[in-house]
Symmetry: C2
Subunit: 356 residues, 2 copies
DNA sequence: CGCCATATTGCATACGAATGCAAAACTGTT
DNA sequence: AACAGTTTTGCATTCGTATGCAATATGGCG
């Protein structure tokens, strides 16, 4: 069966010689849909197996001008939302027979090296899932004619595709929920202020509160970072006039905030303060936290991302497409319950305010 | 400066024509250490910038027979240890001018497709950081002449390199700690039984307990999975003769166990039960959990991994190398403290039993 | 200024697979 | 059996870059 040691450098020509056919025949054997008779194919397959041959993807890329590689740029894996995304992306891309080239780590304004790499490897597509990324990069890539999808973020000029959820509506929903819970003083712990996601969530929150007549919001900025979130929580929650309702821009920070509230400041959640997060991810779901959170439909987001990429790659058309999905406010224990509006939907508790 | 739109297909020949030199000159300009005069280099650089040229890594790979790509195989990103590893790996590899091709998701016995991909892309090296991976894959890769490093795991036949920590000693240390804390009944929540890491930790634990005269250990298997860990905890901790000291094979599970113990079973940690984990990672450090845990020196582990790979790649020698690093028992609040042996080392509390 | 040693340069070819094209091998029909 | 129509095959070329080798330019020194 398997011949044990495999020499690394088996080429199609060697297989061809062994099978007594031309190199073209070998190539066609491994090219789906190519014109090849079953008989030759069988001969080639046998020879290939004996030699342990696998087509060289590099050489193939050179001539087809397709690398079958998708680059994924992701800055901050500490927030479990992103590893989850990564795993799902990997799965779907593999299904489409694409590989995933990962770029991670800090890439401040000096994003050019990354751009260089992307270009050098002639990746077929790019997923930018890094909220803290200069928006230049995306435009540069798009300008270079490579399909790009912004994941969980957009830019003003919508020249490049994106997949997001209705962050503005999400923020508003959170506001409605907290207002319905009878809270009086509202706070917000902000993510990166330059990120569209954060801006939208905050805008919606503000609108929702304003609609209910609340115009004052206590704000601290924590840039999606755990340590900064702790600091922000300390600052905001140790004030005598601290809020009794706090919206934190994502669950990753919300968890940190909750730790500080409970264990450093001795506050009871949700008795002394209600906390609502965003993403519905990771620790937020654990019983220790049970964070009430706007969900983002991760799987569908990734699905949309891959589908946009595949469309653009196969069509060659790079027309910006924006998929905007819906989330739900998943109700757990970190926030006081409103009298009405909380319903059970297949085992989960959701906040659905009555319309009008 | 930058010319706006960049055509994707700028080749070295085009640059050469524009600069009035040969294609070789262009190539040499972008090959560090190649023989090229400053004058020509300058001309080439100018032309290259004007055209937005970047060397085609694919074509380069074809001829140099080096892809400058390292494949990383990682099954389970939910355990934050691995995203952390991934991020650090990405950073170090980038520093060495290597790219990271990520393979993720379940890959049971049918690991061949992955192997195929690895071979097809002619990756220069492989990191296997998946505890749940058939050990065949590693040997196959090694047999194919590609440097492989097993991360946080080994195989019996040590034909392939590995980076681990002293899991056996770690398990033993945990035992000593719990014994010193005066516990009487011991439990173990196991990871994947086929993983070397789990076997070693358990073996050390057993030895350490045996040395103190404790030979009975209650065991449940949870395969490093959060849900299974919860189930295991329910089972073990609801028994009337439940242990008062519990070693959980990693922090990812320990956190789950703690949630169940506290919130489902109403146990107080560490009053009713002491819990010790492994990895010193993620939620284990948060105040809500404060899990006492054997640390794994992630950065140094990744460093060692990259260094082994680089050595083997540059030397062409693939001699298996095993780097085994030390961890420490980081003391927090999830386990009863022993009377002696806990010391403060730059801000952290460590358990260091007196020798002899 | 002439000569030799050294530094640069260009030419030609190689890497491994895909593919247009024409030749060759089949197929079925009369 | 001869023919047209259809598959299948092999040839030759191509992708974009690196590199050995020979040719050329440069520099130093007497």
């Amino acid at each position: 069966m398997d011949s044990g040691v495999k020499k690394p450098g088996v080429t199609s020509s060697e297989v061809a010689r062994r099978a007594g056919v031309s190199q073209s025949a070998v190539s066609r054997t491994f090219t789906p849909g190519a014109s090849i008779s079953p008989k030759t194919r069988a001969k080639v397959m046998t020879a290939a197996k004996e030699l342990g041959y696998r087509p060289n993807a590099i050489a193939r890329s050179l001539i087809t001008n397709r690398s079958r590689i998708i680059a994924v740029v992701m800055a901050y894996l500490e927030n479990l939302f992103y590893p989850d995304v990564l795993e799902e992306l990997g799965r779907l891309l593999a299904k489409e027979n694409y590989r995933l080239l990962l770029f991670t780590g800090f890439m401040d304004r000096d994003s050019d090296p990354i751009f260089d790499q992307l270009m050098q490897y002639r990746v077929d597509g790019i997923v930018l899932a890094s909220t803290s990324l200069s928006s230049d990069l995306s435009e540069e890539c798009a300008a270079a004619g490579i399909p790009v999808v912004l994941f969980n973020r957009t830019t003003e000029r919508d020249a490049v595709s994106s997949v997001t959820t209705r962050n503005r509506e999400g923020g508003r929903r959170v506001a409605e929920f907290l207002v319905a819970g009878g809270h009086k003083k509202f706070g917000y712990i902000s993510g990166l202020e330059s990120s569209s996601t954060n801006r939208d969530r905050f805008a919606g929150y503000k609108e929702g509160l304003a609609d209910a007549g609340h115009t004052e919001i206590m704000v601290e900025v924590a840039n999606y970072d755990r340590a900064e979130a702790e600091e922000a929580a300390r600052k905001m929650l140790s004030r005598p006039d601290r809020p009794d309702a706090l919206f934190v821009a994502n669950d990753h920070m919300a968890v940190a905030v909750m730790d500080v509230a409970r264990h450093e400041l001795g506050l009871s959640v949700p008795k002394d303060i209600s906390i609502v997060g965003y993403d519905d991810v990771g620790a937020a779901r654990w019983t220790s936290y049970g964070i009430t959170s706007m969900s983002q439909p991760l799987k569908r987001m990734v699905e949309a991302t891959v589908s946009i990429l595949m469309d653009q790659i196969s069509s060659g058309e790079i027309e910006a497409e924006h998929r905007i999905l819906n989330g739900e406010l998943v109700v757990r224990t970190s926030a006081r319950l409103p009298k009405t509006g909380v319903v059970d939907v297949d085992g989960r508790r959701i906040f659905k305010p009555a319309k009008g």
